[in-house]
Symmetry: C2
Subunit: 288 residues, 2 copies
């Protein structure tokens, strides 16, 4: 039931992005934007759709927030994969944008995908003016110099730090680097529903950390072919991770505890939140 719902959401988000990006024309940047937003698990977009559905927001409306967060996420991956950043050749099993085209194209594709995320949120079909500007303000805060970009800078700084980070430092780094952009789509659902965001924020904070712990576990135990990207990079770089700090068993126990916290936070929504609860469990059970 959950996998069917995720599958439906993935297809709806892919169709939405294909349609919205089609009007950008045929040049190289537009082609790169379509390439970079193709595939992926769409977990952030799914979160937006499911959070919005708690408050009976029409999916056709929530798709603008879902598409925006997927474009924002895709931009961060394109720039993160650049030679001057993580220097990755493979993403979702395909050559990264700078490998398929070149570095200049990858810079511009990332830039334009960020812009496009805000363009999605500004679309009149995305909500009332009040809702749309609230979505813009919160996405900007989650992704900018005090959110995702700060986390990326902290991650780069950690690679050259004299001593590995402590657990609180890893927690802060990961909350910035990936947590804020997992919290945002849950918050977006509450904004579109005109609802108190507190329970969804608690839920999303917990699954954000669980997601990163699962990523750290996958980096150690996973299969690169299944994951579609290079693994074992953190250990090779001597980076502190949840696994290096808590051990494999400790990391697994912590991830499970966070999933329990996340599920408990969904209590106010009753059975309407069953897909969100299943998503929390899926996040630590996935193999890619």
């Amino acid at each position: 039931m959950f996998t069917a719902a995720l599958d439906t959401a993935q297809r709806a988000i892919s169709d939405f992005l294909e349609q919205e990006l089609a009007r950008l024309g045929d040049d190289r940047v537009a082609a790169g934007m379509r390439y970079a937003t193709n595939g992926g698990k769409r977990l952030r977009g799914f979160l937006a759709l499911e959070s919005a559905s708690l408050f009976d927001v029409p999916p056709a409306q929530a798709l603008f927030a879902a598409g925006a967060v997927e474009c924002l996420h895709a931009y961060s991956l394109v720039h993160d994969d650049l030679p001057c950043m993580d220097d990755d050749d493979l993403r979702r099993g395909q050559p990264t944008v700078h490998v398929k085209w070149d570095e200049a194209t990858a810079v511009l594709v990332g830039d334009a995908l960020q812009t496009f995320a805000f363009e999605c949120l500004a679309d009149p079909r995305a909500g009332s003016a009040d809702q749309r500007i609230d979505l813009v303000a919160t996405l900007a805060r989650a992704s900018g110099a005090q959110g995702m970009v700060l986390g990326q800078a902290q991650d780069i700084a950690a690679e050259t730090a004299a001593t590995p980070l402590t657990l609180p430092q890893v927690q802060e780094l990961q909350r910035n680097k990936t947590g804020h952009l997992i919290e945002w789509p849950a918050l977006a659902g509450a904004i579109l529903g005109g609802a108190d965001p507190t329970p969804l924020r608690q839920y999303a904070r917990a699954i954000g950390v669980a997601f990163q712990i699962a990523d750290d576990i996958l980096d150690v135990t996973g299969d690169a072919a299944t994951a579609g990207k290079a693994l074992q990079k953190d250990a090779a770089a001597g980076k502190a991770t949840f696994v290096s700090l808590l051990g494999l068993d400790g990391a697994r126990a912590e991830a499970q505890a966070l999933v329990d916290t996340a599920e408990a936070a969904l209590a106010p929504y009753g059975n309407k939140a069953h897909n969100l609860a299943a998503l929390a469990r899926y996040i630590i059970a996935r193999d890619k």
Copy 2:
């Protein structure tokens, strides 16, 4: 009188950006953002303030649009200066961001400046929700894959094209690369003023082209020390410019004709537009 008005606007915009960027903290990305937005002519910000003043929009409100367009412009310069793009070491007489820090920092600083531009526009002090989302939508369109970023991609493609571009192709490239982001602040004034944007759009389109023609003339006749950046790059690269296509005299005549067009478009605003008229004349008379 014009130079005093420009000077006042420059200081107001610098103070605004300093204050708004101060809350981002002390890390490397925030420091790079402050560095990259320091200095410059602030012509786009000035355009926003002057256009808004036609409709008696308070400067304290219009500063959010002025600051946003200056952050957007600064982001485009930081990324454009990267080794994989124009590979420039000097900007406004100072080392470019990737020279002062490194490439990864420059990518992140540009990314965060783009985000910050939208954050400025989403600020409740920037206008009503309707005005703010209209500012976001139009800035996204002006700067994204059908605006500035498209122009940058066209510029890169032109460098490796088998034959130099024709005049209509150069006009289209420049309208995308620099024109849209000169038009936007004029449009922003009309949005904040709840006014018909048509005359301001005509004015801004004309000065946008005049600005680029003046840049092409400066690239040939200017002094690198005064300009604070490398010159004679276009001729060395064999790129088609307004000067290579029209000749120096032809380019000067065309720029003057565009300034006349721009001044005529301001007629509906009478004497209130005297600074905008002076700006049009300044744009082709500047030496940097």
